[in-house]
């Protein structure tokens, strides 16, 4: 349209010196649209429009309600005859699925929490195990049991401690 306007404008200027007719039309159109928009804006914001709107909707719903009910009953009857599930059956299933999804989400969140806690506890367990092993070693050394048994016990404790560490690392 802009190229058309330019063409018309050039012709207009060269021949009879008038302004662009299309531009004038556009301006008139825009002014008309603005005033129409203002009038319509005030109209829709009135109680009369709200009442008319409500009346139309009410009429539609009232008129269509019997047809809707009849159609639903007929469909329900047909589905029962065919031994097929109805819309209500599917809706009920969908609601239960949504509830199950929510429970699963909660279970997943709790498992993630447990995993996080376990991961945080594991390094502490490793660090605590070393002083425990050392205290057990010193306790066994000072006991009245024969030295050989104490050494054997200390060695077994040392063997157990690295094994625990490996398990925790594997988690």
């Amino acid at each position: 349209m802009s190229s058309t306007q330019a063409t018309v404008g050039e012709v207009g200027k060269g021949s009879i010196g008038t302004t662009d007719a299309f531009k004038q039309w556009h301006d008139m159109r825009d002014v008309y649209m603005k005033s129409w928009a203002k009038v319509m804006g005030e109209a829709v914001n009135s109680d009369d429009y709200a009442k008319a709107n409500g009346t139309i909707l009410e009429s539609f719903l009232t008129v269509s309600a019997p047809f809707r009910d009849a159609q639903q009953k007929a469909m329900l009857g047909a589905l029962e005859q065919l031994n097929m599930p109805s819309r209500a059956d599917f809706v009920s299933l969908a609601e239960r699925l949504a509830n199950m999804e929510m429970l699963l989400d909660d279970i997943y969140a709790k498992l993630s929490q447990i995993q996080t806690l376990a991961t945080n506890v594991a390094p502490r367990t490793t660090q605590e195990a070393k002083p425990e092993a050392e205290s057990q070693q010193s306790a066994s050394a000072s006991s009245t049991r024969p030295m050989a048994e104490a050494n054997a016990e200390a060695k077994s404790q040392d063997r157990k401690t690295p094994a625990k560490t490996n398990k925790n690392r594997a988690r």
Binding site: T4, T7, M33, D47, G54, T62, A98, E101, D106
Partner: protein, 379 residues
């Protein structure tokens, strides 16, 4: 017009005729040029009205779903050490698609915030079916949002987060923030929030849904959910001439301007992609809010618990669009006085309900202001 196959057929037939005519007029170059220009315009018009624009292009990953709701995380583009540690969750309205926040490259709030170093998440409520007709604000605010936020915290590793709610999303965010103030919400941004319904003479939707004119029970009994087409009609009927006529005239006048055409195409794609509103939520919206203003009165009950706005303690920014005819400014002004937050700011920005965030001026007037407020509060 986008859904009218008869118009599509008419345009296609007109194009064929123009092609034949342009062949015949090949001996008259000036007239042929004019017809070619017209032909190109009609082709552009046909394309814009019959196809969908490429929108929601920012890269994202789906990290959580529940029923129809989905939580997306946008892929960060800034190095991790330069990112804001507090993630940002975007919550839009229930009855429109949320990709208005990510409309098209170069004109996307999501893209802007991701570039500013925010860890951005978007909660998409999805398309409710008839099985969701009983979903209420209670479910959205106390079931869906806390679970989405729990996942957000798990993925981001943050214990605190910012929440941005727009339109009905702002209602849900306000209710959530008031009922769960200790969930880690640090910053709350409310965009064009319809919270105060006391000045009924200024709220056109309130007039239309008045008890005298609008039988809520009958509508929901007929449809289950509030149909998206009816909501779309309601939004457009507020300014019928602008939405049903001037909108298309503006497109016609600018068919040879690719920037305007692209913007129009993207916005029209979003406008025509409406969503139904779950029946329970619609009932609460009309009865509790539009008719009885229960939220501001302090009598709104969510799952047996009263919503007390004074319990809302997050740092608050409320953004008001000065030319908003869907949510007049009176609906967003009074929340500041009701909340228990100590850090609260009201920002007035020129623009309409959607234009304030998705219009051509949003990247200059709105987004930098939001970033300017949020950045120091996200450290």
């Amino acid at each position: 017009m986008a859904c009218d196959p008869y118009s599509v057929t008419q345009f296609a037939a007109m194009q064929d005729k123009l092609q034949n005519v342009s062949g015949v007029l090949a001996t008259h170059p000036t007239d042929a040029t004019q017809f070619t220009a017209m032909q190109e315009k009609l082709q552009t018009l046909n394309k814009v009205l019959t196809t969908k624009a490429p929108i929601a292009q920012s890269p994202k990953e789906l990290i959580w779903t529940l029923n129809k709701a989905k939580l997306y995380r946008y892929i960060p583009v800034v190095a991790k050490e330069k990112m804001h540690p507090v993630p940002l969750l975007l919550v839009f309205a229930l009855m429109n698609r949320p990709y208005i926040l990510d409309l098209r490259p170069g004109h996307s709030f999501v893209e802007f915030m991701v570039n500013q170093g925010y860890d951005v998440y978007l909660l998409d409520w999805g398309l409710p079916g008839i099985e969701d007709k009983n979903l209420k604000f209670d479910d959205y605010t106390l079931d869906y949002m806390p679970r989405a936020i729990r996942k957000l915290k798990e993925v981001s590793g943050a214990s605190e987060f910012s929440l941005l709610g727009w339109c009905i999303g702002a209602i849900l965010s306000t209710i959530y923030a008031s009922m769960r103030p200790d969930d880690g919400l640090r910053n709350l941004i409310l965009l064009t929030a319809p919270l105060d319904f006391s000045k009924k003479e200024l709220i056109t939707f309130g007039r239309w849904t008045d008890e005298r004119y609008f039988d809520l029970d009958k509508v929901l009994a007929a449809f289950g959910n509030m149909p998206g087409e009816m909501i779309d009609y309601g939004a457009k009927a507020l300014k019928p001439v602008e939405n049903y006529i001037c909108n298309y005239l503006r497109l016609w006048d600018n068919l040879d301007n690719p920037q305007v055409v692209q913007a129009w195409h993207a916005m029209n794609t979003w406008v025509t992609d409406g969503v139904s509103l779950a029946g329970g939520a619609f009932r609460q919206l009309i009865d509790d809010l539009y008719r009885n203003d229960r939220l501001m009165q302090g009598t709104m009950m969510i799952r047996g618990e009263r919503v007390n706005l004074s319990h809302l303690r997050a740092q608050l920014l409320t953004v008001i669009a000065e030319q908003d005819h869907i949510v007049p400014s009176c609906q967003s002004e009074t929340v500041i006085a009701k909340v228990g937050s100590t850090d609260k700011t009201e920002m007035r920005i020129p623009g309409g309900h959607i234009g304030v965030m998705a219009g051509s001026g949003a990247s200059k007037h709105t987004w930098p202001q939001i970033d300017g407020w949020l950045a120091p509060r996200s450290a």
